[in-house]
Amino acid sequence: MKRYRGFFALASIITLAPILFPVNYFVTVVGVSIAINALIAVGLNLLMGYTGQISLGHAAFFGIGAYASGLLTTLLSWNPWLALLVGLLATWLVAELIARPILRLKGHYLAMATLGFGIIINILMVQPTHITGGPDGLSDIPVLNILGWDIDSDIRWYIVANGALLLGVWVALNLINSRIGLALRAVHGSEVGAQMMGVDIEKIKIKIFVVSALFAAFAGSLFAHQQGFISPDSFSFHFSIELVVMVVLGGMASKYGPIFGAAVLTMLPETLVVFEDYEVLILGAIMMGIMIFLPQGLWVGLSQKIKPLFIKKTISVEPAGG
């Protein structure tokens, strides 16, 4: 089917990369981090790109998933899969509770409220030191095991993380093309218009907020087991911002843009190892530059700028409004 064409392309790239470059650090090691970040970005894109609701606190949900897995498997020695499930349920609960009042807000207020929420959750990871290990975090998180198969090598993690990513992308694609997806995009286009067409905008915003939180929490659980160690730094305000940049860099409401954005942003510090101190500066410059010069994102923006050069027939290439 046509709608899955890009999906198969993505799956092929993911499959071929480790076969063509089996010992390349960027594929087998960074590739895992890219997949995990991309999974969060794909979920956040459902909320931000398609529904038009900004969240500056998504690192919190990533953190809730990671800490649920980390705490339950180390302190209580639970089975990792049970811990993951409980992490998802906890995220569902928190997201549902917070979404109701938060999503009544718009624009700057929504940004500030999600930001505040993220910071509060981050402080809750640092402060109860006796439980969470405080700023030092949790270590010795056990490996994940799928049907007797220990996920303990780079390539195994590559398969699991990218498998999860493909699953997430598939779900997101389906959702966007469904009746609910149309309603979500309608909310972005015009809230009054959507309401008048029978869309319960309050309910649908809450639900997509929960869905995108679950994407992040799932990624968080994988992250905890993959790293074997977590600390609050990975779930700070700064990471929330990076997530937003991944979505924006790729292009909001673009199907594969967030994956591209996640890849760029995850590789950035790796390629800048020599200029470590420049990382912050460059991140800031990218954010400003993209928004000022390519507001539709690098992925969408560049493809729109390049397309007319090849297609001579004047099909009206309209910039996406808003």
Partner: protein, 291 residues
């Protein structure tokens, strides 16, 4: 117990004054341009760090403070000219990302220039505290409160008594009408950024002798300033000032009574409660959105 309260109150009003100045800057920019400038906190950091460097190369104290303010103002003007103005038609989400980007960029720049070390300024006039019961009031606290009060008063007079101040408010009410009656809206925007950078820089200089400063000190202060502005009702400059002081006091009371580790959480919990239950703030105007 009452001494603990008194001490919390003194500390709270001191730090709250800094939030008030940052919040005031937020409110001014929001008033004029409908942009929430997330880089506001960086003005605080730039002011303080510049003064530290200037002192280190032997510039006299007063001159160093003055030059640091000039630098902060320049940063504000550059930000407006090269990041806000080119993206004039940007959506709310875009401007949020642009100003956060600017904030991260400035932080990155500060990291390159000053490294990760913590710095501090000497107190403006000695360290001998005044004792009130068992609570203490340092001279620097008095500087912070005093200068803040003067600055707030001046800004208030400026908005209510001068033509430029009134013109600035007109830009926010209706930019098109403002430009039609001959108010140079572009220059007003620059002015607003300069003014709020000045306030932010001043806050940085005032509290640098009390709180350490480093390349990333601006972020939290900026966010707290924003919380102050929301508490007071976005777009209401004097509300932001009140919000800042209230926030500072509640925070330091909370730190004294509960635990200092949760100090930052208290500010943001207050912020969320205000947003949930009284999003127009305590001094803002309520209004039904007309379609």
């Amino acid at each position: 117990m009452s001494d603990v309260l008194l001490q919390s109150l003194i500390t709270g009003v001191t730090i709250g004054s800094a939030y008030a100045l940052v919040g005031l800057g937020f409110a001014i920019i929001f008033n004029v341009s409908d942009v929430v400038n997330f880089a506001q906190g960086e003005f605080v950091m730039v002011g303080a760090m510049s003064a530290v460097s200037l002192l280190a190369v032997g510039v006299p104290f007063a001159v160093a403070l003055f030059l640091a303010l000039v630098i902060a103002v320049c940063i504000g003007l550059i930000l407006e000219k090269f990041a806000i103005e080119p993206a004039k038609s940007a959506t709310v989400v875009s401007t949020i990302i642009i100003t956060i980007g600017a904030s991260i960029f400035l932080r990155g720049l500060a990291l390159l220039i000053w490294g990760k070390d913590f710095h501090s300024l000497p107190a403006f006039s000695g360290e001998t505290p005044i004792h009130i019961g068992s609570a203490t009031l340092t001279p620097q606290s008095m500087w912070v409160m005093g200068v803040t009060a003067v600055l707030v008063f001046l800004v208030h007079q400026f908005f209510n008594r001068t033509i430029t101040g009134k013109a600035l408010l007109a830009c926010s009410a209706n930019p098109i009408a403002a430009s039609l009656i001959g108010i140079p809206v572009k220059r007003m925007m620059l002015f607003a950024y300069g003014l709020s950078a000045l306030l932010g820089g001043a806050a940085g200089l005032l509290i640098a002798p009390i709180a350490f400063t480093s390349y990333d000190a601006g972020m939290m202060l900026g966010l707290k300033g924003f919380a102050a502005a929301i508490l007071g009702g976005l777009g209401n400059p004097m509300g932001a000032v009140a919000g800042g002081v209230v926030l500072g006091v509640l925070e330091s009371l909370g730190a004294g009574l509960i635990s200092s580790g949760y100090k930052d959480a208290i500010a943001f919990i207050i912020l969320l409660l205000v947003l949930f239950f009284k999003p127009q703030g305590f001094f803002g105007k309520a209004g039904e959105e007309r379609v």
